[in-house]
């Protein structure tokens, strides 16, 4: 009785696993298939699930003719800048909120979190006007600064949470040995915080790589487009005959995320749940 019940449950689980995976991977596999098709294959009715040949011609064209390679490097440039900025600002801030007790600390922390809920569109409206007056549209520094600002609330909160998990006695041992706060932070706490910091970085990478509305508003020079804006640009200029190129461009835009993902998957789960479960 018990055994057959277990067997039924197992079959149920396997069926649901297959359905879930099909729902989530199906659209991505379809794009992958499109990206390898020739123009002729695109118009087969009904469409073939798999391309007949696996030629990288579409990828070559997307990368060099449609200039996806430039967009790709622009995105990398912005994201790396954002991550460095986030490190510089949030490591001291996370330490400060965690280790220095002061009046109003809790209230300020909540205020910081509120910014997380403000749409990037809202802040982009005045910043667009402001930066256009200063002639700072199409500028790497201002763009990266906005990216940093958007990632700051989440990063500060999460990092502060990781600092909280380190017992304060470790700081005190350092202080007794004559370390300054700065030394305690950089030499004792930093090595301990690295797993937490990696989780933060992964999320900052994913959200910054996806960022669309900010560069869409701030960047009009197509040589400076990140991949998201570049793709929309390619989409608006493409028709059914270039579907396969757009598909290849999508796959190229997804690949960095997949790489980061497969390597750092467990950090993502930890970062996403850090606030929720403890809170």
């Amino acid at each position: 009785m018990k055994k057959s019940n277990q067997k039924g449950a197992k079959i149920g689980i396997i069926i649901s696993f297959v359905l879930i995976t099909m729902f989530f991977l199906g659209p991505l596999l379809w794009v992958l298939s499109l990206s390898f098709k020739t123009v002729d294959e695109l118009f087969y009715v009904p469409p073939k699930l798999f391309p007949e040949t696996f030629s990288f011609e579409n990828y070559r064209q997307a990368l060099w003719q449609a200039d996806i390679i430039t967009y790709l490097f622009n995105s990398i440039r912005i994201v790396v800048g954002t991550i460095i900025g986030i490190a510089i600002v949030t490591i001291p801030a996370g330490y400060g909120f965690s280790r220095i007790k002061f009046k109003g600390s809790k209230v300020i922390q909540f205020l910081v979190l509120i910014f997380q809920m403000i749409s990037p569109l809202i802040i982009s409206i005045p910043l667009y006007r402001y930066f256009s007056k200063l002639n700072l549209l199409n500028n790497w520094t201002t763009l990266t600064l906005i990216y940093i600002a958007i990632a700051l609330p989440f990063a500060t909160w999460t990092l502060k949470g990781y600092f909280d998990t380190i017992p304060i006695s470790i700081d005190e041992a350092g202080t007794i040995d004559g370390c300054s706060r700065w030394k305690v932070l950089t030499e004792i706490l930093m090595p301990l915080i690295i797993p937490g910091f990696v989780s933060v970085i992964v999320i900052v990478f994913v959200t910054s790589w996806s960022q669309f509305i900010v560069p869409f508003i701030m960047i009009s020079d197509s040589r400076m487009f990140p991949i998201s804006v570049g793709l929309v640009n390619l989409q608006s200029s493409s028709d059914t005959i270039s579907t396969q190129l757009l598909a290849a461009a999508c796959v190229i835009g997804i690949i960095p995320t997949i790489i980061v993902f497969i390597i750092l998957q467990r950090y993502i789960v930890s970062a996403l749940t850090a606030g929720a479960v403890k809170g």
């Binding site: 197992k10 879930i20 909120f97 706060r181 996806s210």
Partner: protein
């Protein structure tokens, strides 16, 4: 705490929060506080993108509040958010339960694979989600979904060109995109459910549904409720995915609030009008934030 007292004995500059938090505050002040206040102010002006000067007026608010198209956009946005969040939460919970069960009953690898594949949809850029689902919904003879329906003898569904269908299509794509986050949080919540309680209920002969409704759901309810609120806020802010999937069309059938704001500014050059819509968005999210913080505070008191 006595330990902090010893640290504070001789107070140096580095013992105050200022040097640690100053960079954070400067960036937030310039990039969030100032712009947010400025958006609210713009709503009470006649600012245009084409002219550097503006004067104060209530006309912009009067015009958008008396315009039925504002309420149409709001209605579209609310439908979009409500059904997205509802199904993301339900689907997320269902997947989390399956993964959790799968881990104990079957093979760990399979569960991790399912988890990663659903998380991928969350991690890829919103504009790509829109383009990908644009391929799926393609209404030419080469579209994948239209042929799938054809094989079930349902012909010629207009996924994106019929206004009602378009909104459903956008919501489905958004569910695909956002369920993973709910899944991860539900999954983490499930890990905290007391094993002893579940074993006790097994001995008492409770069935699966009773276990779910009496033990598991009440236990993970706090995690789910905060997730629903945060998810609602994020979904109200949606722009990128809808932009590349439908551009708000056909007509304005899928135009969400953030998009209305963008279009007012960059298509109609009216900063003031766009700012009133943006302020509306801000207001909605502030209400959600207040609810969120109340829940957090209540939980801390317990």
């Amino acid at each position: 705490m006595p330990s902090t007292n010893t640290l504070l004995k001789h107070k140096k500059f580095s013992d105050t929060p200022i040097p640690w938090l100053l960079p954070l505050f400067i960036i937030l002040a310039f990039m969030f506080v100032y712009p947010t206040m400025q958006v609210i102010i713009y709503g009470f002006t006649n600012a245009k993108i084409t002219s550097p000067n503006y004067s104060f007026t209530l006309r912009t608010y009067k015009s958008i509040l008396s315009n039925p198209s504002t309420y149409y956009t709001l209605w579209i946005t609310i439908i979009f958010v409500f059904f997205s969040v509802l199904f993301q939460t339900l689907l997320g919970l269902a997947i989390a339960l399956a993964v959790d069960k799968g881990e104990s009953l079957l093979f760990k690898r399979g569960s991790i694979f399912v988890r990663i594949s659903s998380l991928l949809s969350w991690a890829i850029p919103g504009v790509i989600v829109g383009v990908v689902w644009g391929f799926i919904y393609s209404e030419t003879g080469t579209g994948i979904l239209i042929n799938l329906f054809k094989s079930l003898n349902i012909e010629n569904i207009k996924f994106l060109t019929d206004p009602k269908n378009a909104l459903v299509s956008v919501i489905v794509a958004n569910i695909w995109r956002g369920s993973a986050q709910s899944m991860i949080l539900s999954y983490a919540g499930l890990k905290t459910v007391g094993k002893a309680q579940i074993e006790a209920s097994n001995i008492d002969g409770a069935n699966a549904w009773q276990r779910l409704s009496k033990i598991i759901l009440p236990d993970i309810f706090p995690v789910i409720s905060t997730n629903i609120i945060l998810n609602t806020i994020m979904t109200f802010n949606t722009f990128d995915m809808v932009w590349s999937l439908t551009g708000g069309g056909p007509g304005r059938a899928t135009e969400v609030l953030a998009m209305t704001s963008y279009k007012a500014i960059f298509n109609n050059y009216s900063i003031s009008k766009g700012s009133t819509y943006a302020t509306l968005l801000l207001l909605i999210n502030s209400i959600m934030a207040v609810i969120y913080f109340n829940i957090l505070r209540k939980r801390e008191e317990d």
